[in-house]
């Protein structure tokens, strides 16, 4: 991810399209990844990413510099994805299987272990309630620390720890149940 310096952020806050394009280039992969892992549907992830950046451009002046820009964008991305998921959840359930096969079909040739990981992660995430799923995405995929997850979701550290523990217990139980 490209680092964005403060003058660029200031210019983006004042509506400079060039600065905003730099912010987009720096954070789009992050936003799209979070959106895709929460929604599990590529088209939904594109719509969520679009909504995130449109809102970001219009509300950039509200960025207070009290938290990092990355944390602020993560927060907007997670909230937007959760809102979209609430409205799209029924449609998403219908589309998810077709989406998985389409995703694999469209992907460039990849080693088997990468394809296997993609399938396995989608399977694991689909087993979790959404608040646990978000914590796993931010920790295991995005690599955020407990403190960063707490700031992004505006919850305390023990809640982060608790959600991760319950999510992992559930996944272990599901996996062991499948193997037995």
């Amino acid at each position: 991810m490209t680092e964005i310096n403060e003058p660029t952020i200031q210019r983006a806050c004042h509506g400079d399209p060039r600065a905003f394009a730099e912010v987009y280039n720096a954070f789009v992969a992050l936003v799209f990844s979070v959106a895709f892992r929460i929604s599990n549907v590529r088209e939904d992830a594109e719509e969520i990413t679009q909504e995130v950046f449109v809102n970001l451009f219009r509300k950039f002046s509200q960025f207070s510099f009290l938290s990092s820009l990355k944390t602020w964008i993560y927060r907007i991305a997670v909230n937007t994805a959760l809102n979209a998921r609430r409205t799209n959840v029924r449609e998403a359930a219908k589309r998810v299987l077709a989406q998985q096969s389409l995703l694999l079909a469209q992907a460039p040739p990849q080693p088997d272990e990468i394809i296997q990981s993609e399938v396995e992660v989608q399977e694991l995430l689909s087993r979790l309630p959404v608040e646990q799923r978000v914590c796993i995405v931010l920790r295991n995929i995005e690599g955020l620390s407990y403190q960063e997850i707490a700031e992004t979701l505006q919850i305390n550290l023990n809640t982060v720890r608790s959600r991760l523990k319950r999510a992992r217990e559930a996944l272990l139980a599901w996996k062991q149940g499948g193997e037995e």
Binding site: P17, R18, F20, A21, Y24, V28, A29, F32, S33, F36, R42, A45, E46, T49, Q50, F53, V54, F57, R58, L103, Q110, E113, I114, Q116, S117, E118, E120, V121, L124, R139, N140, I141, S145, Y146, R161, L164, K165, R168, E169, L171, L172, K175, Q176
Partner: protein, 185 residues
């Protein structure tokens, strides 16, 4: 450390690298002496960590930015140079363009000058003295006449190409080239 505490820590702070060094040493010491907790750790790594290690971020298509820029009504390519054209191109392209025009203009001007000099030469034998003196035959024309005299085929060809069957052209062209016209008058 009890097994329950060890297993909770394995699922959270230990797997995520959030455990302090003292607690980490304590946990590893317990795992070294507890077969069940060791298996729990191995199983947790295999199930909860390894699948995420080979994961790649999904590809973002460029069309997404175009859609966002379109909705915001901003330039989708701010800061990038305009499409290259002759007028907004690089300095080298501009120099080549100007040089081409200069060469073209020189060729056109030279052609006009040469044609005008050939076509405006007054026939010295027909025109009055003052006019002859103002526009004397050039050395080029003299050379041409001399060449024609030496080469009868060239003389014939030149007469045919310049004579349209009237007396009019004999007014403007050297009398040496039109003995027939001159004699017929």
């Amino acid at each position: 450390m009890k097994c329950e505490e060890c297993r909770d820590l394995v699922l959270t702070d230990f797997l995520d690298g959030e455990l302090s060094e003292d607690r980490r040493v304590e946990l590893l010491s317990h795992i070294g002496s507890c077969e069940a907790c060791r298996k729990h750790l191995e199983n947790s790594k295999r199930t909860l960590v390894e699948p995420f290690e080979n994961l790649q971020r999904p590809k973002v298509f460029p069309r997404l930015w175009e859609r966002i820029a379109g909705e915001l009504e901003i330039d989708p390519a701010p800061g990038s140079s305009a499409p290259e054209s002759v007028h907004s191109g690089k300095p080298g392209q501009m120099r080549f363009f100007l040089l081409s025009w200069v060469v073209l203009i020189l060729v056109v001007v030279t052609t006009i000058v040469v044609f005008s000099r050939f076509s405006c030469i007054p026939p010295s034998s027909r025109l009055a003295g003052p006019l002859v003196s103002r526009a004397p035959p050039t050395s080029v024309v003299e050379n041409l006449i001399a060449t024609c005299r030496r080469d009868t085929l060239l003389e014939k060809s030149l007469k045919e190409s310049l004579n349209f069957g009237t007396n009019f052209e004999s007014i403007f062209l050297p009398a040496e080239l039109f003995p027939i016209v001159r004699l017929s008058k």
